[in-house]
């Protein structure tokens, strides 16, 4: 079980011949993801680790068959073209790994996806893993690491930071609890699927018994997640960890989203909203597993 992807999900890799594309194609394939083809314009006929490469998404789908998801490894400035190509071909889930995607380009992609009823994960996104089934993106870094990090279990993880997603999964797996799906929503200020959307999906997933929410300062995603819980769309127990307590107001930290302006998006605002929604907020990642075990009792 888990959310968004499983062992049957058929995945296309756009930008498969670049540095990150090659490395991640190997990671995904070794993990067991069903990779059907890769796309790099001008590189048709090549193959990357046995995966056939085509010039366009259309050609790839004609020759390799239907795809449920596409993952993009193109440079940020090419994301708009790549994502719209995949959306036009009817692919319903696009995972956008690169950072430095121009904001207006992504707004365009979002509007385009909305018209087609498709989902976007990212940009600036390390990916998603459904434990023991499939992995899309570069989460884990290598299949061997990913297998040790994401032991199948009952905890869903959603994070605004890629590193925190992996680290939390590591502690949860080490504690013997294991994970269902680990989702990084992306580090940018505007992202496709938000924490609140993922929370609702975990709520509907029978295998997920508890959820870890890893947030940070900036944006209103944690506040929206708290609202989702208060509105009754998130009924499962949630444990949260947030970072950025010591950040300076008015400075945008390395994540494009991480800024506090006039109290909005502050650490305090997020903690108080989540606590009011009944979320257990821990102040160290090392307390996460203990807290999850507690709420599962």
């Amino acid at each position: 079980m888990g959310i968004l992807i499983d062992s049957r999900t058929r995945v296309l890799i756009q930008g498969i011949t670049g540095r990150e594309g090659r490395r991640s194609a190997a990671l995904m394939a070794e993990y067991g993801t069903r990779i059907i083809a890769g796309v790099t314009p001008g590189k048709a006929g090549e193959s990357v680790g046995g995966i056939p490469v085509f010039d366009s998404v259309e050609e790839a789908l004609q020759k390799a068959g239907h795809a449920d998801a596409s993952v993009i490894f193109a440079p940020g400035v090419s994301v708009r073209e790549a994502a719209c190509e995949a959306l036009e071909a009817g692919i319903q889930l696009i995972v956008i790994v690169p950072d430095r995607v121009p904001l207006h380009d992504f707004l365009y992609v979002m509007a385009f996806a909305k018209e087609r009823g498709a989902k976007l994960l990212g940009p600036n996104c390390i990916g998603i893993c459904t434990a023991g089934e499939a992995l899309i993106g570069m989460i884990g870094g290598s299949a061997e690491t990913a297998r040790s990090l994401f032991a199948p279990g009952t905890v869903g993880i959603v994070s605004r930071s890629g590193g925190l997603a992996s680290s939390a999964a590591h502690y949860i797996s080490k504690a013997g609890l294991g994970v269902t799906s680990v989702v990084h929503v992306g580090g940018d200020s505007i992202v496709g699927l938000r924490m609140s959307d993922i929370l609702v999906m975990f709520d509907r997933d029978p295998a997920t018994k508890a959820i870890c929410l890893l947030g940070e300062i900036g944006s209103s995603q944690e506040e929206a997640a708290a609202r989702t819980i208060v509105n009754g769309s998130g009924k499962k127990p949630v444990v949260a960890f947030l970072c950025g307590a010591s950040a300076q107001p008015g400075v945008r930290y390395s994540h494009a989203a991480a800024i506090v302006n006039g109290g909005r998006g502050s650490y305090e605002s997020k903690v108080s909203n989540l606590v009011a929604a009944g979320v257990h907020v821990v102040d160290s990642l090392s307390h996460l597993a203990t807290a999850v075990r507690e709420v599962l009792k």
Binding site: A111, G163, L164, Q248, S284
Partner: protein, 466 residues
């Protein structure tokens, strides 16, 4: 997210048919002499500043009825303001324009919907945020479908909802449509015109303008002069500019650097400063939080992420280490990185050797390939002069590793001469590996890219204080 100065914003609006008051930019003392022939009294003098928010409350705006008053206001600025890029505009002197009403117009992004939002209020002015909070001010808004853009009649209905009609409604519609065109053409994050003045005859004039651009799209807009493509609460320091250069000169991975305590005097005078090298946006923030919680003081915030090559990590570490007064070096991310940790370790180890670091060092190298990364550190440990230096994997929790750091710092205080970093202003900062190489240390995975603009930066005089 680069912020533009008010004068830049007004020039952008003017180019799109929106009236702005006649004005002159004052950069040098000589500019004051030209004012009487160019402008009519009374005038408004507005300091051009990095700070956001309530500038008038901070004394940056003055209405002057005589030219000597203008000089008295502007003169002290020549000496006080940091001039990082040679002569930069200090003040905008504008003719005072009398208006019947001040309204609010802005475009930003509604992150929940993922589309631009046009906002309009008949009650503009500096108190608008407070007014919105108390419910005294009503804001009318309209989402924009970016695939289609927005047409004037859509804006007209927004303006009419705000209670305007006739010539005033028409001019406001034209002005707000111009703001939308600027927003879309510049790929802005936000544009705020507050106040937008409305005269009784229906004419409209922009009395202020704040624009924030998207750093990732700046390369498509070379016509806009951006002084520093990051959103800070103050002008950047030398090291911060060097860091931005190091990041931009090499497109692989990202490197972010911000000095929490930018003045060397206080770094040298006070105890407990840590040179902090974080990894991954979230992991770096988490580690900085934990340092503060443990009573330590990160002198800076730094983050290398996006699977950076060793060369980028090396440069980042050198920049962190060149802060005077730091008493320890701490590298830490979330704990379980997807980055290739041996590559990261190579960059760090080379920097620690080149810099001949003597202060205590703790590195958290947990993640993909951590054993090889720790092994690499241990192999080259003897070339680093610091008596106390350790590398740990994912099994050591963040809090434990900070406790280790504190212990090492305590023991180091008893070794005279190794207390802290000496003043090390990086005027001749090479940012390439030293010519001396310990035999056999692997070459960088990821070649060094040139930093062509470092030389240019060095030529510009700069001050630490602001």
């Amino acid at each position: 997210m680069a912020r533009l100065f008010e004068y830049q914003g007004k020039m952008i609006l003017r180019d799109r048919g929106i009236s702005v008051p006649p004005g002159v930019i004052v950069t040098e003392p000589g500019d004051l002499d030209s004012l009487p022939s160019a402008l009519r009294l009374p005038v408004v003098v507005k300091q051009q500043t990095w700070r956001t928010g309530r500038r008038s409350a901070a004394g940056g705006v003055a209405r002057c009825n005589t030219w000597p008053e203008v000089s008295a206001f502007v003169d002290p600025l020549f000496g006080s303001q940091v001039r990082l890029w040679g002569p930069t505009p200090l003040a905008l002197v504008e003719e005072y324009v009398s208006v019947a009403q001040e309204v609010y117009a802005a475009i930003s992004i509604d992150e929940e919907v993922g589309s631009p939002l046009i906002m309009f209020s008949p009650q503009g002015g500096s108190e608008i945020e407070l007014g919105v909070k108390t419910g005294a001010v009503q804001i009318y808004s309209q989402h924009v479908n970016i695939l289609r853009g927005i047409l004037p009649h859509n804006i007209m209905s927004l303006v009419k909802r705000g209670g305007f009609s006739g010539p005033q409604a028409r001019s406001l519609t034209q002005a707000i449509h111009g703001i939308w065109r600027a927003y879309s053409e510049l790929e802005a994050r936000t544009i705020e015109v507050n106040p937008l003045g409305v005269a009784t005859d229906g004419s409209v004039v922009a009395l202020d303008c704040k624009i924030t651009l998207d750093d990732s799209a700046l390369f498509r807009h070379p016509e806009i002069e951006v002084h520093f493509g990051r959103e800070f609460d103050r002008p950047p320091t030398f090291l911060e500019r060097l860091a931005l250069n190091a990041d931009q000169a090499d497109h692989r991975g990202t490197f972010f650097f911000y000095q929490i305590r930018p003045d060397p005097e206080s770094l040298l005078a006070e105890d407990g400063w840590i040179g902090f090298h974080g990894a991954g946006g979230g992991g770096a923030m988490m580690s900085a939080d934990a340092l503060v919680r443990a009573g330590l003081r990160p002198a800076n915030f730094c983050d290398t992420s996006g699977n950076p090559p060793a060369a980028k990590v090396y440069r980042a570490a050198r920049i962190v280490l060149s802060q005077p007064g730091i008493e320890a070096f701490f590298y830490s991310g979330a704990g379980m990185a997807s980055q290739d940790m041996p590559t990261i370790a190579e960059g760090l180890v080379r920097a620690l050797i080149d810099d001949q670091v003597t202060i205590p060092i703790v590195l958290r190298l947990g993640g993909n390939g951590q054993d090889a990364a720790i092994e690499l550190f241990n192999r080259w440990r003897r070339y680093i002069p610091a008596p106390a230096a350790e590398a740990h994997g994912a099994d050591m929790h963040l809090e434990e590793s900070i406790a280790r750091l504190i212990e090492l710092m305590k023991s180091n205080r008893n070794s005279p001469g190794l207390k802290r970093r000496a003043w090390s202003l990086p005027v001749d900062f090479p940012l390439t590996p030293a010519s001396w190489q310990p035999e056999g240390l692997e070459e960088y995975r990821g070649r060094l890219t040139d930093l062509p603009s470092v030389q240019r930066i060095r030529e510009v005089p700069y001050k630490w204080a602001f």
